[in-house]
Amino acid sequence: MNNQRSRKPLRGKKQFLEELSKNLRGLSKEDKREILEDYEAHFIIGKKKKRKESEIAKALGNPKQIAKHAKLELAIEKAEKKKSIGNISRVIFASLGLGFFNLIFMIGPFFGLLGILIGLLATGFSLTISGIAIIVAGFLAPLMVEFIALGGISLPLIFLVGIGLASFGLLFLIGTFYVSKGFYKITLKYVKFNMKIIRSEEE
């Protein structure tokens, strides 16, 4: 018979809290202390009610899983407060450990979209910068005839093209900015939605 499972040593209070603490690495001291205190108090009161340590630990669930959830909650909170690529990546990586982001179906499209956004951003930038370069070239051309050749295009036309290009680039950037904001929000929403689903058999 397979009794691999029953041979696993039972966790007591000390092992539970140690394992939890180990898996909470990276959190701020305060957050970590608060979380550990909650579970420690749970053990103390449980023992007062004549429960065995191992029984309490078992009912609490897997400390590794608990730590992952706690980390994700805090990462989401941070990402909501301050929008940054670093913060949203932390949310994604924390979710990975919990299996919220199915590797093939979610991570692929996520990075695909991220790539597109970066591409759009780069396009906006280069459009704006080329527009500005053309305007500058228009100003400098009469002064530096030997360096800048306008190819016989009249100056007003040069300025028109430059201004047009620069403003189009700026609009493009603004548009991309809004799309990115939406993408950020949807990603957080998706993770939070997953957080709301409990798997009652977590091990």
Binding site: A41, E77, I197, S200
Partner: protein, 101 residues
Amino acid sequence: MDTQFKKGVLDLCVIAILKKHDCYGYELVQKISKTIAISEGTLYPILRRLKKEGYLETYLQESNEGPSRKYYSLTKKGKEKGKKLKEDWKDFEKKVDKILK
């Protein structure tokens, strides 16, 4: 409701219990896990979140058996949230009932 259900329901359970009287964490966990099969550990993150969102507050109170305990109580915002969650739940219940009939 054995494998997957929404934590929103747990939010409602916590708030409903605290509406009757303040509780310490262990007490709340026992009350809920007696009826709904969840790992007892799942409730603490919910309590922390509800507190951070301003629905609950905590205070320490002496206990005659051991160290002082952290009690949770509903804030005004929490009471309002409870009302809204309860309405949502009743509405949902009605709809499911309609289908069951």
